[in-house]
């Protein structure tokens, strides 16, 4: 009886600490977005904001946050589409090629995922300058596709492996072409896997900062993370506007995590151990 009670208390305590540790710092920070200027830097701090939207207005009007947001949507959206397209083809090939080939390609692809970005960034920058793609959307999207491909290919290869080859055979008998069998039979059945890979790719591209900082120096084409990092006030740090921009950037991700946590967890652990 007492043991059960002890266990329950321990569990509740553990859960409370885990949730507080994960959420409280962030809530304290983004609540600044809904405060007034004096509330943000007040000591003792105002815990309950007055739900003023001045900082959002200022972030939009004075700092042009919507432009950054649009760039982020375009870059992360195109990256996701391109990566998923290429990863579907490659993942399917890996799932159907003989094991030794698949293993070798997988090793190469994984090796690509482990390199520190600093090791590629100089030459990539020079290449993009040569092509005139610095400060352009494709200048960001292409490297992002390369960096997100490995994980997406792996997730999809694991997924396609589970699909019996008889499915395609049946489609071929029914008069489908080889590509047609992939597009009409395998892809629709793989929607959950595709979705997982797409979420992870999108989150990566949405959050990426290092390359975005180097490749895009023109504020007109910069993405949200760069905007948030480089936010400058005239005299003081514009915490309210930074918090407002952070709120806008993070809200879609939090919604995605809350809705699709199961998929995300499966995808992430596929990156390390068999899912």
């Amino acid at each position: 009886m007492t043991r059960g009670w002890l266990k329950k208390t321990g569990l509740v305590l553990g859960v409370t600490i885990a949730v507080a540790f994960s959420l409280v710092p962030f809530l304290l920070f983004v609540s600044s977005a809904f405060k007034t200027q004096t509330q943000v830097t007040a000591i003792p701090p105002t815990l309950w904001p007055s739900f003023s939207i001045d900082f959002f207005r200022s972030a939009v009007v004075r700092y042009g946050i919507l432009g950054y947001l649009l760039n982020s949507v375009i870059v992360a959206g195109s990256t996701t589409l391109a990566t998923i397209f290429l990863a579907t083809l490659a993942g399917y090939a890996l799932a159907r090629l003989p094991r030794s080939w698949a293993y070798f390609s997988l090793l190469v692809i994984l090796a690509c995922a482990m390199f520190p970005q600093i090791a590629i960034v100089g030459p990539v920058w020079r290449f993009l300058r040569l092509m005139g793609w610095l400060n352009s959307y494709q200048g960001l999207v292409l490297p992002y596709v390369a960096l997100t491909l490995p994980l997406a290919v792996w997730i999809l290869a694991l997924f396609f492996r589970e699909m019996p080859a008889e499915l395609e055979a049946a489609a071929l008998v029914d008069g489908c072409s080889r590509i047609g069998a992939l597009v009409r039979v395998i892809v629709p059945l793989s929607a959950p896997g595709l979705f997982t890979a797409a979420i992870l790719t999108f989150i990566y591209a949405w959050n990426e900062f290092f390359l975005a900082l180097l490749i895009v120096t023109d504020p007109v084409r910069q993405t949200m993370p760069v905007g948030i990092a480089l936010f400058q006030g005239e005299h003081t740090v514009p915490w309210g506007e930074i918090a407002a921009a952070s709120f806008i950037t993070t809200a879609p991700l939090v919604v995605m995590v809350l809705l699709f946590q199961r998929r995300i967890v499966t995808g992430l652990s596929a990156g390390a151990i068999k899912g």
Binding site: L11, V15, A87, Q117, P150, F209, S269, G271
Partner: protein, 295 residues
């Protein structure tokens, strides 16, 4: 498998391989080549002469680089071990069956999903020297006691470590959780029948069985921690007195702020070699069979 089919499959693989070649394999090769040249971005008239291993010799005598190396090592070691330890606790917690477990999993995933830049700004705000909540929690209204966390070498590095642990513990927890979930429940039941307590069950069942996934998490985290950039860039710009000048930030400054492309490439090759060695150890320890089994 018919021959024509193999050609078709290789054709499907080709576009992805091409992208990886152009944007990852070729740049790495070129980084190595560039590191043997003197290239200064603003001075093309120097014509990028070949200078052999001069950049590397300079790197060995560069006290900032050496300092940066040790800062990175300290950062990587402390963050990885803290993340694995808290990650293990978190994984053990989530592995329990209780109502609201899904919501808990979603909550701990939130820091992982937040852009690093946002979490960096968040910690910069919380660590602020005059109105930061961390100072308020520690010293209340006694403003004279407030610590300028990000302006002192020791505490600035600590702040960045804390920010990283906050953000990636959940990732480590998920990897460990994947290992926990494949342990059959019967093992615990049998041990309970034999009268084994909580600690002995952990020591003799859980620990040996999750070691592979701990190892995977360890090396994934180590390799990733070497890439730290965003936190240091936003929270401290590498300061104060280079206390948080991690390798990737130092390389960035040399290449893109000062324009020393060749020298910066030597730094990046150095980082690359360290990570490569770790990756080889990783594959060795995890074992080929585990990787093969996963496909």
């Amino acid at each position: 498998m018919i021959r024509a089919d193999r050609k078709f499959l290789l054709a499907l693989l080709a576009p992805a391989v091409l992208v990886l070649l152009v944007f990852i394999a070729a740049p790495i090769t070129q980084s190595i080549l560039l590191s043997f040249h003197r290239i200064i971005v603003g001075l093309p008239q120097l014509q990028n002469p070949f200078i052999g291993i001069e950049n590397y010799q300079e790197l060995l005598h560069d006290s900032v680089a050496r300092h940066s190396f040790w800062v990175t090592i300290v950062f990587v070691t402390i963050t990885t071990f803290s993340e694995l330890f808290t990650g293990l606790l978190l994984a053990l917690l989530i592995n329990h069956r209780f109502p609201g477990r899904g919501s808990l999993r979603a909550c701990v995933l939130v820091p992982w999903a937040i852009p690093t830049v946002v979490s960096a700004q968040m910690w910069r705000f919380l660590f602020n020297d005059s109105y930061g909540l961390i100072n308020y929690m520690l010293f209340g209204n006694e403003v004279s006691q407030y610590v300028a966390w990000l302006a002192k070498p020791g505490t600035a590095l600590f702040a960045i470590i804390l920010a990283d642990v906050w953000k990636t513990t959940s990732f480590a927890a998920l990897l460990i959780l994947a290992g926990l979930q494949i342990i059959p429940e019967e093992l615990y039941q049998a041990a309970r029948v034999d009268g084994a307590g909580v600690w002995r069950r952990f020591r003799h069942i859980t620990w040996p069985l999750i070691r592979p996934s701990l190892l995977v998490a360890l090396l994934f985290r180590t390799i990733d921690a070497f890439r730290v950039f965003d936190l240091a860039f936003v929270m401290t710009q590498g300061g104060p007195a280079d206390a948080t000048n991690v390798l990737q930030l130092y390389g960035y400054k040399k290449m893109f702020v000062e324009g020393w492309m060749g020298y910066g490439s030597a730094i990046s090759v150095g980082v690359f070699v360290i990570v490569l060695i770790l990756a080889v150890i990783y594959v060795r320890m995890v074992g080929r069979h585990l990787l093969e089994a996963s496909l």
